[in-house]
């Protein structure tokens, strides 16, 4: 049984083994192996030139990676936590994302920016943000987030090989999730970027999710069986590029769609998905596209986070709100049915 953390570590190890231009750097990634141990053992195996600690300065880390990529290296940098990546945002939005475009394709930046993100681990303030929306809203970046151990390996290998900058968002609460694979030798490259995966087939409703929300959607689908729902679960795998085809095909089949995302709902990735679905599937829809999201509040203290995070019950309540006939159901607004 291997964990997502081990799968990520294996992906880094193999990529570094195969290509000496691949470098890993960031805060505490060397001797310590990263605060989540994702880079464990890399300095010992590849030496300090290949995996090294930097000064504690995220804009510096990202900007240094830009220069090193211009110089022919393939940096994989670690931002220690989601909110600790914000100092690097200018470098990411103004340079990492734009260099290829600004130079009309003459300089590409094959940089992977690894960001442990999202909540559900009892973390303190500034350690639990769902920041994917900021990156997904920035043309030029690819935004990837695995939900399974196997995908963590495959997507990270893809990311390191990709000619474009990739913001690789690692759901913290899934670091210790396990796969049935007996050991890391079973890990393999699967689908390329831009392919969503149907994790559970179903006929009545499509639950679209990514990263930390995929297990929630799967658990909800299982629980919904008792209420007569046969729910399909689509795992996006990559937010950018977005797989419209798989999502739309699923919704056209089921006729209903609920988007599950842990981030605050307003103006988020979940809103984008809902809009894309109704633009493409309007005539197949039997109900409005609904969203299950985090609340529109700053990430709450650990003892209150369960109120914020989407869980099985919130998904089931939302399924209840899907109209199965022409009568508008406004119970969620507190009015009479």
């Amino acid at each position: 049984m291997i964990t997502m953390a081990q799968a990520l570590n294996t992906a880094l190890r193999e990529a570094m083994d195969e290509d000496e231009r691949v470098l890993v750097f960031g805060e505490d990634v060397g001797a310590l192996g990263g605060v989540f141990r994702i880079t464990d053992g890399l300095t010992a195996k590849f030496g300090e030139d290949r995996c090294f600690d930097t000064p504690l300065a995220e804009a510096g880390i990202a900007g240094f990676a830009v220069g090193m990529a211009m110089g022919g290296f393939r940096p994989v940098i670690e931002m220690q936590f989601d909110a600790f990546a914000y100092p690097a945002f200018e470098q990411i939005a103004s340079h990492v994302a734009k260099m290829r475009n600004r130079t009309r394709g003459r300089i590409g930046l094959p940089i992977v920016i690894r960001i442990p993100y999202a909540g559900g681990i009892g973390g303190v303030e500034h350690h639990c943000d769902s920041s994917e929306g900021y990156y997904a809203h920035t043309p030029g970046l690819k935004v990837v987030t695995p939900a399974t151990v196997e995908d963590a390996y495959s997507l990270l290998r893809e990311a390191i090989d990709d000619p474009d900058p990739v913001v690789f968002m690692e759901p913290k609460k899934l670091y210790w999730s396990k796969s049935d694979l007996p050991d890391v030798a079973g890990l393999a490259r699967t689908e390329p970027f831009g392919r969503a995966a149907v994790r559970r087939p179903g006929r009545d409703v499509t639950l679209v999710a990514y990263g930390p929300s995929v297990p929630v959607a799967l658990d909800a689908a299982e629980a919904a069986k008792e209420e007569g729902w046969d729910a399909e679960v689509v795992d996006l795998r990559t937010i950018v590029p977005f797989d419209d085809a798989t999502v739309a095909a699923s919704v056209r089949r089921t006729g209903r769609c609920v988007v599950v995302s842990e981030a605050a709902g307003f103006a988020g990735v979940g809103a984008e998905i809902a809009a894309r679905v109704q633009e493409r599937c309007f005539h197949s829809l039997h109900a409005p596209v609904l969203r299950v999201s985090g609340l529109d509040i700053p990430y709450p203290p650990p003892m209150l986070e369960h109120h914020h995070l989407p869980d099985v019950d919130r998904v089931l309540d939302t399924l209840d709100r899907l109209q199965r006939d022409d009568r508008p159901d406004m119970r969620h607004l507190g009015g009479a049915a």
Partner: protein, 366 residues
């Protein structure tokens, strides 16, 4: 430790080789070797051409051929010195004010002006010239220069990087992170601050309380020096030492040049709102072109024929530029989708089709 501190600190006064009148400074023995006459002649020629180019670019804004132009009139010694200090393989990281430097580097002036014309973000090929795109955000390119220099060091190429910033940008966090990274990783990079006294309208005393901008190096263990930025001989001498320091594996070097932007920030700015003519007049008396001309003439390194030949060359250069800029650039709107990613996403292809339809509909109407 005291010895190390003294070694890192800049000189008590900016390094000068020339008086304001272009005479050799007497007395103290200069810390740096005097640049060769041939290099000084090249610098003079490049400044003459650069100044004419700068005037032409400003004129092009008035004709509506350039959206905006940040002049470097008055800063020619820095613009030219920064480029002549480098070898062909070295990397240069400019800001938006470095157009004269880019022309000196040998880049086609029409390509240099593409950003300001508004036809492209970067008109030249950075790989070909080893010149990064002109950077509009402030100080962000300093970290790129540190990273690239470190990459060159790792590859053992012997190349260095030189990155330009202004006085205002030394207040940005990235400038400090770049100095720190460069020092920690011994990256062969020269940080070249053109302190032209104003960040748009904000004077230096509102940027810093440090004894000088060069003093910012010592906090990071970065050796630094300051120089009279309107003295081309001193600029070349100090930058040569800085580049040599970096190239020989000693790590980064910070140079602050004291200079003055004689024009407004850009053609859209009005300098009379924040500074006096009398102040500008003082700096006009320290003009780098005149100072070097007098110096070289006195030493017999420059003839009247050289001067008239180079002024004529500058005139021709400006004329050709004007003619070429007076034609409309070729634009390829459907190419907007080409370099967002290595391969366009399906969504970008959909948008390309949409834009194609819009353009065709527009053309059908006209």
């Amino acid at each position: 430790m005291t010895g190390r501190v003294a070694e890192l600190l800049p000189s008590a006064e900016p390094v000068r080789f020339l008086t304001d009148d272009g005479a050799a400074v007497r007395g103290r023995r200069p810390r740096h070797p005097l640049p060769e006459p041939e290099l000084l002649r090249r610098a003079y020629r490049a400044m003459v051409i650069g100044r004419r180019f700068d005037a032409q670019a400003t004129a092009l804004t008035k004709q509506g051929r350039l959206a905006v132009y940040p002049s470097s009139h008055g800063q020619e010694a820095c613009q030219v010195g920064a480029v002549l200090a480098l070898d062909e393989g070295d990397w240069f990281f400019p800001t938006y004010r470095e157009s004269v430097a880019l022309v000196t580097r040998g880049i086609d002036p029409v390509e240099v002006l593409a950003l300001l014309r508004g036809s492209e973000h970067c008109g030249y090929d950075p790989e070909r010239h080893h010149v990064a795109p002109q950077c509009t955000p402030l100080a962000t390119q300093t970290v790129h220069a540190a990273g690239l220099a470190y990459a060159e060091r790792r590859k053992g190429t012997g190349r260095v990087a030189l990155v330009c910033v202004g006085d205002g940008a030394t207040s940005e966090g990235d400038f400090h992170e770049a100095l720190n990274f460069a020092a920690v990783f011994k990256a062969p990079v020269v940080f070249f601050v053109q302190n032209n006294q104003y960040a748009i309208s904000v004077p230096l005393e509102r940027q810093t309380a440090a004894p000088s901008l060069a003093h910012k190096g010592i906090g990071y263990g970065v050796r630094s020096e300051r120089v009279d930025g309107n003295d081309p001989v001193a600029v070349l001498a100090v930058l040569a030492a800085a580049v040599e320091h970096a190239r020989s594996g000693e790590g980064p070097f910070l140079v602050e040049a004291h200079t003055y932007r004689l024009e407004s920030h850009t053609n859209a700015d009005d300098a009379s709102r924040y500074r006096t003519d009398a102040e500008a007049e003082q700096w006009r008396r320290r003009d780098p072109v005149t100072r070097l001309e007098r110096y070289l003439r006195r030493r017999g390194h420059l003839s009247a024929a050289d001067i008239s030949a180079w002024y004529a060359e500058a005139e021709e250069f400006a004329g050709r530029l004007r003619d070429r800029m007076n034609t409309d650039p070729e634009l390829a709107p459907l190419g907007l989708f080409d370099h967002v990613y290595g391969t366009p996403t399906p969504q970008l292809e959909e948008q390309r089709a949409l834009l194609r339809a819009e353009i065709e509909a527009e053309e059908a109407l006209s």
